[in-house]
Amino acid sequence: MRLLSSLLLLAGAAAAQAPSGLSLLPGDVSLRGPRAYQTLVVEATYADGHHKDVTGAAKLVSANPKVAALDGPVVRPAGDGETTVTATLGAAKATVRVRVTGSAQIAAPTFRNHVLPVMTKVGCNSGSCHGALAGKNGFKLTLRGYDPDTDYQVLTREGIGRRVSLVEPAQSLMLLKPTLAVPHGGGRRFDPRSPEYNILVDWIASGAPPPSDADTRIQGVDIYPASAWLEPGAEQQVLVRARYSDGHTEDVTRWVKFSSTDAGVASVDDFGKVKMLGSGEAAITVWYQSQVGFARLGVPYPDRIAAEVFRSSPRHNFIDDLVLRKLEALRIQPSGQAGDYAFIRRAFLDAMGVLPTPEEVERFAADPDPGKRAKLVEEILTREEFVDYWAYKWSDLLLVSSRRLRSNAMWSYYNWIRASVASNKPWDQFARDILVSSGNSRENGALNYFVLHKNPIELSENVTKAFLGLGITCARCHNHPLEKWTQRDYYQMANLFSRISLKNGAEAGDTIVYSSPTGEVILPRLGKPLAPRPLDGKPLDFNDPKDRRRHLAEWLASAENPYFARSLVNRVWQNFLGRGLVEPADDVRATNPASNEELFAALTKDFTDHNFDVKRLIRAIMNSAAYQRSSATTAANEKDEKYYSHYILKRLPAEVILDSIAQVTRVATRFEGYPAGTRALQLPDSQVNSYFLTVFGRPPRTLSDSAERQHEPTITQALHVINGETLNQMLSSKDGTIEMFLKLGLSDGKALEHLYLAAFSRPPTAQERADILAALAEARVATAKDPLEKEPRRKPLEDLMWAMLTGKEFLFNH
């Protein structure tokens, strides 16, 4: 109801509001050739910062219709020259220049840049039709046109020459079928005299010229508006313009594949018309001839929040400026800061996976120093548990386990990782040390990476996923259907790994890794190798004596490679804030934009400017007010799960839960084959037998994929802590916390105090104290009735601990 009335209010307000500014998208227009055209969008800006597509309401006029003619909102060439087009709405005006060239020249559509994109858009070469592995009905095209030369041959030379008829273009099968002039399994794809039809028929009529190396090539696409804040329910036309190598541009809106990253916020149709369905921000992504891009469109939440709220919200560093700026634009109120008890527990768990001891909690709470939080962060960064936690995290990424590595190899792998974390090795150095090294895997544990991923294809895919946050598997067989990666990119990347050789060392578990002088990865379709090249970096000549892995390593941390730093920054950010700037955390591709791109860019720049220093990044995050925000929501921000208006509750990882239970009960978990007292976070092997860890979501480390670790509660987990051995044995152990209470003769009140500080990192409230002490007393009376019961206090205390260790306050970070 509230949303509806706000909507009416806004709608009413907007109707009365005059725009404070107008712009004509896409800006200046350049039309080359008689077939060129450009759709225009008139975008109004209002005093409150929102935008609106007012193309329908505005008046569009061409200053010289003999140069540029207007056909509704579409500009078409009339004659060579320069003129302007002006849009008017009320008192607001916007003007763009229009330049027309070559209007008298015959310009036939080209195969590569017009015919194939049209066929891709209408679906001829999609995976479910003629782009399928075996084609359809004897007609096979390359998937989404990734090989124009082959497609040209198929269209003009095969099919007994009926597909393209130069003599009678309209009788070409490639026109008769999709217009359903003859039966077509794929149905009607377009009508005669449609723009699709005209492009195809004109190409055929011009002699069906083939694609050639001399063709101009697409270089990129630009999307308009790049970003906009709209009203609820608004409709917005998105325009896409392609840039070519010969400098000309074309309006390709009609031929682009559109999709929305959040269908609950915005939907988009096949022609780029967007409808805003909810509050928040969505990206409308665009794919055209393997070029990708996106527009960010958003609708602020309906609440009106005083600017003072944002101005006075705490800002500790650059992170806060950028988080608050986004919250203000979206009209999401930030929650207040978390209290000291909440902060120390949170910081310990997120950075180290351990709980603070009761002494540490009390000391921190009592410390009057206003800078104590920053001091605590510094202390955390020096602790051994910090090293354990991050060594474990990178072990997840690098798949450290005994599944495919012998025990000594696994240990050398783990120890190398741990030493790198302990010395705060710069992340680029870390990656280089893995990727570029040669030698004995026992001496250099990093080399076990090549034992796990043995061939160039596997290596290429794992490196891109683990270090670049990109999934390129699709491009193995054809151009990636959603991204800009082509099959050529895929094989060029793989060819960087074609000269790594392995052989067994002297002892079992030793592997010698070395670079060999020869070796290529063949692209099956072409039957030949392609020059090694890291994704969109510079290629290396085949005969270049430089080590190919070194070439990769140089690109990895270079300014030309945005993925490496972003991927790491996002993983670390997600560890603390609960939600990556990009989600899933290891999916930083171009068409999956960040929820706060400015923040992401700033964090990444700080990271790369300071030598890829991971600790520095962690410090900045932990010190920010955004990280220190309370998890308590307000009515105004409880729906926000993306923009960090409050700390996001997250269930603790399996290992942290098990270790924390051990810490509170003072009963260490026994892991088979490991010394007593080893914590779960110190295990180098994800295969170590532990039903608890498995059931609570420990990743098996078979894939470098963040989805392997599960954090959702399940009935199986509940059954295990209610009835299973793990927790029950720790609670009933004859050593441990309860034994300590009994030996020390602690009263129920003191015991309760200790347990709260140990498990929840805070003292109990007066109400809690009263309720629980009463319950304990009652239970003790009941237990004491049994003459056989030797320790009437023990069992109730066990039950209290059980209740605390299985509750939300314990199992969640909040």
Binding site: G127, P713, A718, L719, D786
Partner: protein, 458 residues
């Protein structure tokens, strides 16, 4: 309070027996409140006249239509493959020779031979579409049909509404969701996952009952105190994952106190001969367990025949490692399916349960008509087969005819959305029903215009 009806009387140190002491709880523990159930009934979304249950057998890997249920003996050798068709006890219906027992049950099942989809030919997309009726796009995760049933009808008794055996589908090569969860409906409607292998010698549901030294009194006390302690953090109240945690505990207690559930999961109660009939393997015993769970009041059981296609013998017969060879249909996978499926239909029929239990056997795609150089077949979503039995389905018929090489539907193509519509129809759920999607957007069970496969029911 929970009721633990143990077979033997267990005496505790406090002198009380379990049976004496406790009794079962209220509707709240079942995860569905009475007002919302009545509300759904009023909407007509829930049809109480029919209470049809479902067993979904998911044949992970993608069975080859040409080597199972859509034989083409007259096609050239490189198409028809190594197997021959055999007659069934339904006139005119022939299936592969690797399914001799199934052939004797053809009067009970109907085959659909013209399934197809137009999304990418990878496992995940098929998993999504066959189990939810839709391809996941725009960030929306649609719910598994069993989870929808769980939300709309709630549990029938104190057993979970939807159970998944034995484990979820894991790595099949992509990184997309498989459609085995409740998606946007919320994890509260996720299936209860067994996470154990029912063919193992000492199979039991892990941690189903408290240890012997734990008295019922204490189990109750712990449960009460957990609620007492956990009231403090206010923001948990609106957090879905936190609510889910509590709901999993509620459901766990319900399961524990259900004698019916305990019995159902206890395969030792099943005669040895019966266990052998189903096949002493993970799939066979899971099918047997599925039958027992349906008998105990579970509404929907999903059985994953396999959990991965890598380094394991499955339906995914690419012909070279780490995938399976075409011969495995004769040597392992075929007989495994044959024994379990036939036994399931026999048993349900004998017990008079077939009419009210829909059994579907489906894979995520078919396979290439032309045998590949490795002697296997690759992914082929353009045409494949599945079977429907029970739940009002008329057996002994075939819906849809594929072309001469089993490569494309010749008549009556059927989409995964129609399969979903068919299952909902059999379960007595109106296709007009709308589910609450994210940001409250109503999402229809299936898109407007999608119809069930009516031929199956007439």
């Amino acid at each position: 309070m929970i009721r633990l009806d143990a077979d033997k009387a267990v005496h505790f140190c406090d002198g009380l027996t379990r049976r004496d002491f406790l009794h079962a709880g209220s509707l709240a523990y079942l995860g569905l409140s009475l007002p919302s159930l009545l509300g759904l009934k009023a909407l007509g979304a829930v049809n109480n006249k029919k209470d049809v249950n479902c067993i979904m057998l998911f044949l992970v890997g993608g069975p080859s239509q040409l080597d199972t249920w859509d034989m083409k003996p007259n096609a050239p050798a490189e198409i028809r493959g190594p197997y021959k068709p055999i007659k069934t006890n339904a006139a005119g219906v022939e299936i592969c020779e690797v399914f001799p027992r199934m052939a004797k049950q053809a009067d009970k099942f109907a085959l659909v031979r013209t399934l197809y989809h137009t999304a990418a030919a990878v496992h995940d997309t098929g998993h999504q579409m066959m189990q939810t009726g839709r391809l996941f796009q725009g960030g929306i995760e649609y719910p598994h049909i069993g989870c929808v049933l769980s939300k709309l009808k709630g549990p029938k008794s104190d057993t979970p509404a939807h159970v998944l055996l034995p484990r979820p589908i894991g790595n099949t090569g992509g990184n997309m969701p498989h459609g085995q969860t409740a998606g946007f409906l919320g994890k509260i409607y996720d299936p209860f996952v067994l996470n154990a292998d029912p063919s193992e010698p000492n199979f039991q549901v892990p941690d189903m009952l408290p240890p012997d030294y734990m008295s019922a009194l204490r189990v109750d006390r712990r449960r009460d105190w957990r609620g007492l302690v956990d009231k403090s953090v206010k923001q948990f109240e609106s957090n879905p994952e936190a609510k889910l945690l509590d709901s999993t505990f509620q459901q766990a207690y319900t399961l524990m106190s259900s004698a019916k559930a305990r019995e159902a999961f206890d395969l030792n109660k099943e005669p040895e001969a019966s266990r052998s009939r189903y096949g002493k393997n993970r799939f066979g015993q899971s099918c047997l367990l599925a039958r027992r769970l349906i008998e105990a009041g579970v509404r929907f059981v999903t059985v994953n025949m396999f959990e991965t296609v890598f380094d394991e013998i499955t339906w995914d017969i690419h012909g070279s490692s780490p995938f399976s060879p075409i011969s495995c249909y004769r040597d392992l996978v075929g007989p495994m399916f044959d024994a379990a499926y036939a036994s399931l239909l026999e048993d349900l029929d004998q017990r008079g349960l077939l009419q009210e239990t829909l059994v579907v056997a489906m894979g995520e795609f078919g396979r290439t008509p032309k045998v590949n150089p490795a002697g296997g077949r690759d992914h082929w979503p353009q045409c494949w087969s599945m079977s429907f039995a029970g739940g009002g389905v008329k057996g002994g018929q075939v819906v849809g005819e594929s072309d001469e090489i089993g490569g494309a539907p010749k008549s009556r193509p059927v989409s995964p959305a129609e399969v979903a519509a068919t299952i909902y129809h059999s379960l007595g759920i109106s296709l007009e029903t709308e589910l609450p999607g994210s940001q409250g957007r109503p999402i229809r069970l299936v898109d407007h215009g999608v119809e069930p496969i009516h031929e199956l029911f007439t």
